[in-house]
């Protein structure tokens, strides 16, 4: 008896809940209203079955409840009934599947007039590439990825020279224009998900995937990651902004192309060895303490090569290949006067050491103080666009990494058991060598951001204000 009442109440409750629930589909902002329609068909058919089955059980439980004086009916089979039920079920299934497959064929068939935009995912941020004037994206590969070439565009592919690169987690799309989103990932699986667009797709390293849609509303929508991609998954945020075609065209002209960013980054005209030394210096974290300005934590690399340095013990040393090599491999051997003996031993092979020395030679001797221009964005803008705030809150909330609020000047315990005071040098090191000294209680999972010295300094200045 109780179970019959419960089932009836569950059905009535579910129907009421369905109609008063404030949790409905997020208003659509793309052409895929037909997907919503197929969902509605499915809801109606399954809803009827749900109500019918539960009511039938409730009715049967009441009507045929136990009675000592009655015996159940003996009826092993009823061919006719079974055939009818099978036929009706099959019709219901076809009524859901057929329109579904028709709409699906639209979903997988990209119209000819669609423009192409590439979406690139990485832990835990988004970047976007537009094909530029030739309407063709250049080839890309993981092996081309470097600080200067974060998208990994093949530098020799003519189609890639005019590609427009957007690194700041913001996708801009024109209204009412079919767009094919080509997707790839640099590291693990991700999934480009905008609830208002309805369609979503995984981004798979090693291959490309796609979706297409036509934005139908001007406005800004959130991009989420819908495929688990590690501890930062829930905070891999981005935005898509739909602009009028005119605004979109205007915006596009203000963006820089691959060849422009590359030439800006490479204005130093370094040799091949020095170029790879530059990348190593970034990845290994050298640039956290050494730079080509006058103010740096370790000795500045500006005009360093060939210079005579005074050591803490008063001896004078001419900076040559041998000295630099020794200092890289065994940093404590000779400390320049005025600097603390804090440089960690670097595990680099001969070739890598030579590359870094070449970089110090070439870059340090070029009198190009101005090549590293002031960052265009403020520290706060950088923190958002480089994805820092995915893991570091600015309001004290505990996320993946330590919150930046009241961080500067505070004292923290490291996983190594050491205590440190958070100062410029610690922050700089933490940006370029994130997993060297991790604060206790946090996982060592921060990927080194793709930024230069000035940008890092701007972010540190921003942290100081919090």
């Amino acid at each position: 008896m109780g179970i019959a009442i419960a089932l009836v109440l569950i059905v009535i409750g579910s129907i009421v809940f369905h109609f008063i629930s404030p949790w409905v589909m997020t208003p659509i902002a793309s052409n895929w209203g037909s997907i919503d329609d197929t969902m509605l068909i499915t809801l109606i058919i399954t809803g009827i079955v749900f109500i019918a089955i539960n009511f039938f059980i409730a009715f049967a439980v009441i009507k045929y409840r136990h009675d000592k004086n009655r015996k159940a009916k003996y009826e092993p089979e009823n061919k006719k009934l079974e055939v009818w039920l099978t036929v009706i079920t099959s019709i219901g299934i076809i009524a859901m599947l057929a329109p579904g497959l028709v709409v699906y064929s639209d979903v997988v068939t990209v119209p000819d007039d669609a423009i192409t935009v590439e979406v690139v995912g990485q832990q835990w941020s988004w970047s976007f590439r537009y094909p530029g004037e030739d309407q063709q994206l250049g080839k890309s590969a993981i092996e081309y990825i470097s600080i200067d070439n974060p998208f990994g565009v093949d530098p020799l592919d003519p189609a890639g020279q005019d590609d427009i690169l957007v690194l700041n987690n913001r996708l801009i799309l024109p209204l009412d224009q079919p767009v094919r989103l080509l997707m790839r990932s640099k590291d693990v699986l991700h999934d480009f998900y905008v609830p208002q667009f309805r369609v979503k797709m995984d981004m798979v390293p090693g291959t490309m995937s796609y979706i297409w849609l036509t934005p139908t509303k001007i406005g800004e929508f959130e991009i989420l990651c819908a495929e688990f991609c590690g501890v930062g998954h829930f905070n891999m945020r981005g935005h898509v902004e739909v602009k009028s075609p005119a605004d979109y065209a205007q915006w596009l002209t203000t963006q820089s192309t691959f060849v422009e960013t590359l030439s800006k980054n490479r204005s130093e005209t370094l040799s091949v060895s020095a170029q790879s030394g530059k990348e190593l210096a970034q990845i290994s974290g050298c640039l956290g303490c050494h730079n080509f300005n006058d103010a740096s934590i370790g000795p500045s690399w500006k005009n360093l090569y060939g210079k005579t340095q005074t050591m803490v013990d008063g001896t004078q040393v001419i900076v040559d290949d041998a000295y630099l090599k020794e200092s890289i491999i065994n940093p404590m051997a000779k400390i320049v006067k005025g600097y603390a003996p804090i440089m960690p031993v670097m595990s680099l092979d001969d070739l890598q050491t030579t590359a870094i020395i070449d970089y110090i030679k070439e870059k340090g001797s070029s009198d190009s103080d101005s090549t590293e221009s002031q960052p265009l964005l403020s520290g706060q803008e950088l923190a958002i666009s480089k994805g820092c705030t995915a893991c570091h809150s600015i309001d004290g909330t505990k996320l993946l990494g330590p919150s930046w609020q009241n961080l500067y000047g505070s004292t923290r315990n490291l996983t190594s058991g050491q205590q440190i005071k958070v100062d410029d040098s610690y922050l700089m090191e933490s940006i370029f060598q994130p997993n060297a000294n991790v604060v206790a209680g946090y996982p060592p999972v921060m990927p080194p951001p793709i930024i230069n010295q000035q940008e890092a300094q701007a972010i540190i200045e921003f942290i100081k204000t919090l």
Binding site: W23, V24, I35, N78, S185, D187, K200, G206, V231
Partner: protein, 585 residues
């Protein structure tokens, strides 16, 4: 097995061989079940911890993102593999197969014993991952590479290795058990027990075991391949990628290949859990409604049909995985076709109670509860199976609600119903009725309250596997209140389970004596000479089977049930006697 003398080979001598190193299928079944329930309690606690974070974000300091994802992963893996698979096949399968087909034991008792010990080893390895540096894997129960073996995912050093090794050991255990179940069903049935007279419980377990034997190898090889990728640097699943800003040495592998292998196992796995549940629920409903199961032959063919079809639907888990989108047509079609035999099963259950004489005993409550929750879970599956409807819903809370309803709540209701039903046979004592009803109502209504509204979070678009939902504009604050409500209900349902555990222990000592056949059931396990059945099950003579397992309320008889070993006063008088007639040797 008809030769009764040869059987005494593993007659237990001491306490150790009787209860620990036992080769008796009944003891092994209980060992399997106790381990499964204990490890299931761990997973239950983990789900409570997850819900604390989701319902009350930031209130519990010890739950950071890493810990949260570890809870998610271990909860899912334990529930699906180490609880549900183990308890249906190792627990119910072991206990019921020999008793229901009229055998003295499994065909390979020693291998059967090895199976449970390998299972225990697998559980110990898995639990050990809580204590290694970095903790257990937090890769999600699907363990998708590349993230599962890379920094950035918790437990990517030791946790994932122990997880993969544990799975491999579990599969060895399941294979040893599975070979036994299949062989016993095919070779050790007693006289007269034709395949088409077997109780549906046996059909369900039999078919599920065949699925397990065919599907688990896919998981086994993918676990081994991922172990190689992790420890030897091979590139089965690893393309050229960056990790933490550095380019890795891997090249040329395919993450999607892993997903194909995983779901080639993973989808049949759903039915490895569901088919035994289907079978058991059929028997519970028939017994307690005092009526024959409706459409027995159709039910058998539905079980076989679902089993076969379950191998050609796997990629419906991968509509948005980046595989060739053309696969969507094929897998959407096969997936919706599988709904037909599944729907037939539901119809036949409800038609079985029609014209019945329904006793609302506790096992029957769980069985009816199952039909309701399974209907919801099955119907929402039609949303996700239809490729285009899946696009907006995939990877949202709709999926979480769907699979918890269909393969969490529904099978576990059957596990409970089955335990309330067969506990009297296993122990000779009835489980307490009042506690049983409390347990049912708390669990049934509680899980409805958890998962029904959860579908709506998914319709709204809330993505799954999120540690927190702060500052997402499209998620209204009311969704957070709903999350808090769901968490409260989840913890309530978790606590309710303590009643069940207490009942299991309390009734062992204080329960009412059950007698041999408290439910007046027809199948052979209720016709043993002693309860619980002694070693060898049947006394000096094996039972002879004269009829199918569903002769309830047969016209012309005083009592409302005819046991399968009752020759009756004449041939059974049912309309369709083809498969019921006579005694075949």
């Amino acid at each position: 097995m008809n030769d009764e003398v040869e059987h005494d080979m593993h007659e237990p001598g001491s306490f150790w061989t009787k209860y620990v190193w036992s080769q008796d299928h009944k003891v092994i079944a209980i060992q399997y079940s106790v381990i499964a329930i204990l490890v299931g309690l761990v997973a239950l606690v983990l789900s409570g911890l997850m819900r604390l974070q989701l319902g009350f974000p930031g209130s519990f300091d010890f739950i950071d993102p890493s810990a949260y994802y570890q809870f998610v992963t271990m909860h899912g893996m334990i529930m699906v593999i180490y609880l549900l698979t183990a308890i249906f096949l190792g627990g119910f399968g072991n206990y019921l197969i020999p008793l229901m087909v009229g055998a003295r034991d499994m065909v390979f008792p020693f291998v059967n014993m090895l199976s449970v010990w390998f299972y225990l080893l697998a559980v110990i390895i898995l639990m050990a991952s809580f204590f290694v540096p970095g903790g257990p894997s937090g890769a999600g129960w699907t363990l998708y590479p590349p993230q599962a073996i890379l920094p950035g995912t918790p437990g990517s050093d030791w946790g994932i290795i122990l997880m993969l090794v544990s799975l491999a050991v579990f599969i060895i255990a399941a294979t040893m058990g599975g070979l036994n179940y299949v062989t016993t069903v095919l070779q050790a049935r007693t006289r007269g027990m034709t395949l088409m007279r077997m109780p549906l419980t046996i059909w369900g377990i039999f078919m599920a075991t065949i699925l397990a034997l065919l599907a688990f190898p896919a998981l086994f090889v993918s676990a081994v391949m991922m172990l190689f990728d992790k420890t030897l640097g091979t590139s089965f699943f690893m393309p050229a990628i960056l990790s933490m800003g550095q380019q890795l040495d891997h090249e040329g592998g395919s993450p999607v290949l892993f997903q194909h292998l995983f779901w080639f196992f993973g989808h049949p796995e759903v039915y490895i859990v569901a088919l035994p549940a289907f079978g058991i629920v059929s028997d519970l409903i028939s017994t307690h409604a005092r009526k024959n199961i409706f459409g027995y032959r159709m039910m058998v063919w539905a079980i076989v049909g679902i089993g076969v079809l379950s191998f050609v639907v796997w990629a419906h888990h991968m509509y948005i995985s980046g595989m060739n989108p053309m696969f969507g047509y094929f897998f959407a079609t096969t997936t919706l076709i599988i709904a037909v035999p599944t729907a037939i099963k539901v119809y036949n259950w409800v038609l079985t109670i029609w014209h019945g004489n329904i006793r609302l005993n506790v096992p029957m409550l769980f069985a009816l509860g199952f039909v309701s929750t399974f209907t919801i879970g099955g119907l929402t599956g039609l949303f996700l199976g239809n490729v285009v409807v899946d696009l907006p819903l995939s990877d949202t809370y709709f999926v979480v609600a769907h699979f918890h309803m269909v393969m969490g709540v529904s099978p576990i209701l059957v596990v409970f119903g089955g335990i309330y039903h067969w506990y009297p046979k296993m122990t000779g004592k009835m489980l307490d009725d009042t506690m049983g009803k409390l347990h049912f109502w708390g669990t049934f209504l509680g899980t409805y309250a958890i998962y029904f509204p959860m579908h709506y979070l998914g319709v709204l678009g809330v993505p799954r596997r999120y540690f927190a939902y702060e500052n997402y504009d499209f998620i209204p604050d009311s969704a957070k209140d709903l999350n808090a409500m769901i968490s409260v209900m989840a913890i309530f349902v978790g606590v309710i389970q303590l009643i069940f555990i207490f009942n299991l222990i309390w009734s062992l000592f204080k329960g009412k004596p059950a007698g041999d056949n408290p439910w007046q059931a027809t199948s052979l396990e209720w016709q043993t000479e002693t309860t619980p059945p002694g070693h060898g099950n049947w006394g000096p003579h094996l039972p002879i089977c004269y009829r199918w397992a569903y002769d309830y309320s047969v016209p012309g008889y005083e009592q409302d049930f005819l046991p399968q070993n009752d020759p009756g006063k004449e041939q059974p008088v049912n309309a369709d006697t083809n498969q019921l007639k006579g005694v075949e040797a």
